[in-house]
């Protein structure tokens, strides 16, 4: 009876596109080692050092008046910078994605410029404009307006470094989506504003949120640019990152890490929301691409 009574599994070689186990394990080990020493351990260390002297000391460091002031200032700056860039981002994306005009690519590159500028230089440029020796310096002095070494300067620097975030999230998405939906709305009698609010906004909400998220994370964490324009006046012109620096330079490590852990926590929340939104965004882009 020609029946196969082969009950043992066949001894076959490895599938052709897979690597030998020792290669796999070795590479995984190497990758984990690399990520652990450069990413994971620093993160863990922040929290470990923050809690080194116990929960009590941790909380004390955070509710200390200068720390609270730093928190308030950071939030204030973010609350101004983000909406400013939001308006800009939406306007720029609308102009670029829905219309044809010469020089579009150049405009996009210019909007991306702040990304390639060193934070210190970003601070410097406003110092040159509004500082005592700057162009508008004397005029500001006359009118008793303080921009550099004060909150307005910090806000400006933050706006600069977070400038492109929202625009560059919206532009590709809105370009892919085209203007069909808007044209349909217009043909039905909707006004421009109504079209924007009822048709465009819902289509871009996840990309918008994503851009706002990145913008927020960067706005709250910016150090170099703000450092130049801040007066480093404790309790007045120190954002959270600057406060960390001050504490650290005073060798008050526990407090420095305590405040730093707050920022690290913010970073982790950002990462979590980012992953969730990325998943959302991918399905949006997929849907946009499938439209005829």
């Amino acid at each position: 009876m020609p029946q196969s009574t082969d009950t043992q599994p066949l001894r076959v070689p490895r599938p052709p596109t897979s690597d030998p186990p020792w290669v796999r394990r070795g590479l995984i080990a190497l990758a984990v080692l690399f990520l652990a020493s450069f990413v994971l351990l620093p993160l863990v260390l922040v929290f470990a050092e923050a809690l080194r002297h116990g929960l009590g000391a941790f909380v004390d460091a955070l509710v200390e008046p200068d720390a609270l002031a730093a928190i308030r200032l950071t939030l204030l700056v973010a609350a101004i910078a983000i909406p400013a860039n939001l308006v800009f981002g939406v306007a720029a994306a609308w102009a670029i994605a829905k219309f044809q005009f010469p020089g579009k690519q150049i405009l996009i590159t210019l909007i991306d410029l702040p990304f390639s500028v060193s934070p210190v230089v970003a601070g410097l440029i406003y110092l040159l404009m509004f500082g005592a020796q700057g162009w508008l310096g004397p005029w500001l002095d006359e009118h008793d307006i303080q921009i550099v070494f004060a909150v307005p300067g910090i806000v400006l620097a933050t706006i600069f470094v977070t400038f492109p975030f929202i625009a560059r999230e919206l532009i590709p998405l809105m370009a892919e989506q085209g203007s069909d939906d808007e044209q349909a709305a217009l043909s039905l009698g909707a006004s421009g504003w109504r079209t924007f609010i009822a048709v465009t906004l819902p289509n871009i909400r996840w990309a918008l949120l994503y851009g706002v998220l990145l913008c927020t994370a960067r706005a709250m964490g910016e150090f170099g640019a703000v450092s130049i324009l801040s007066g480093h006046i404790r309790g007045l012109t120190n954002t959270l990152p600057l406060h960390v620096e001050i504490l650290y330079n005073e060798y008050n490590f526990a407090a420095a890490f305590a405040v730093a852990s707050l920022l690290a926590l913010l970073a982790l929340v950002t990462l979590g929301l980012k992953s969730a939104l990325e998943w959302r965004l991918d399905s949006e882009r997929g849907a946009a691409g499938r439209r005829e």
């Binding site: 690399f34 450069f38 993160l43 230089v121 960390v244």
Partner: protein, 285 residues
């Protein structure tokens, strides 16, 4: 009455969607006020020095040392990231292991974490009695307060760029190419070297360039771990800050101008790279 429509000049052509003038105008105005004019200010101020003045600053020993240090450490860090980033991308895309998702999410931490936090954390980690530093100390490897520390910080900063550049290309890559190579007699190693790597080369290069551009101007994560000793471990952005504190605005501006020129050159290179790789990858399906 002539009811024929008059041909409208191009700039007056009516657009279907409203708001073009408003949004473009606002965009250009805001862009100019926040970005273009201030940046131009740097070059104008630098120009006040004249070419000889600029040259004098740029070739000053301390400035040169700082620029070379910023450039050199950024290059080293970006190169290290190019290798390790490709490896990490390969591992994340090709292999399954517990904790892979978590690791994948962690890659973006350098994007999200404030640079000052990264700075003090890395310093604590790699200093003589830090968790990692204490293992390296006996071998005489000094990371914190030395140029090596700068490289470590810049590796952290640039880590996501290569990984996130390579990952999509790797996951899109058709497994058929590897099967074809295997059917022609190539071992796994030969396949990786001759088929996978060339396919990934443009994205690795792009990631490298992005990491490099970011690292050159980095400040917050570096100044804690570097020794900040002039001529030895002082980066260019720090030099700018020091010059500003000394009220030597011309010198600060000159160094800033140099850094801006370098940044723009890199930006151009990256754009060209991306355009070239788009063309080269014309669908071969």
């Amino acid at each position: 009455m002539d009811t024929r429509s008059v041909s409208t000049p191009r700039w007056r052509r009516r657009r279907v969607l409203p708001g073009f003038g408003l949004t473009l105008g606002y965009t250009l105005t805001w862009l100019a006020l926040i970005v273009l004019i201030p940046l131009a200010g740097v070059f104008l101020k630098a120009a006040e020095l004249g070419w000889s003045g600029l040259w004098a600053v740029w070739t000053d020993a301390r400035v040169l040392a700082a620029l070379k240090l910023s450039f050199g450490t950024a290059l080293a860090a970006a190169a290290f990231n190019a290798v390790m980033g490709t490896l990490v991308a390969w591992v994340l895309v090709r292999y399954r292991f517990p904790g892979r998702r978590l690791l994948d999410a962690m890659i973006d931490l350098p994007f999200a974490l404030p640079t000052a936090v990264a700075g003090i954390a890395l310093t604590a980690l790699y200093s003589g009695n830090g968790w990692i530093g204490r293992w390296l100390e006996p071998y005489g490897i000094k990371v914190a307060y030395a140029p090596l520390g700068i490289v470590v910080a810049l590796v952290f900063i640039g880590l996501p760029f290569v990984v996130r550049s390579v990952q999509p290309v790797l996951s899109e890559a058709s497994v058929e190419l590897e099967e074809a190579a295997a059917s022609l007699g190539a071992s796994r190693w030969q396949t990786a070297l001759r088929v996978n790597l060339p396919t990934l080369a443009p994205s690795i290069l792009t990631g490298f360039a992005l990491a490099f551009a970011r690292a050159v101007g980095e400040y917050g994560s570096v100044i804690f771990i570097a020794g900040n000793i002039p001529y030895v471990s002082e980066i260019a952005p720090l030099l700018i800050v020091i010059k500003l504190e000394e009220f030597d605005y011309p010198a600060a501006t000159a160094v800033a101008a140099a850094m801006l020129l370098l940044a723009f050159a890199l930006l151009l290179a990256i754009n060209l790279l991306q355009a070239w790789s788009m063309r080269h990858r014309a669908a071969v399906h």
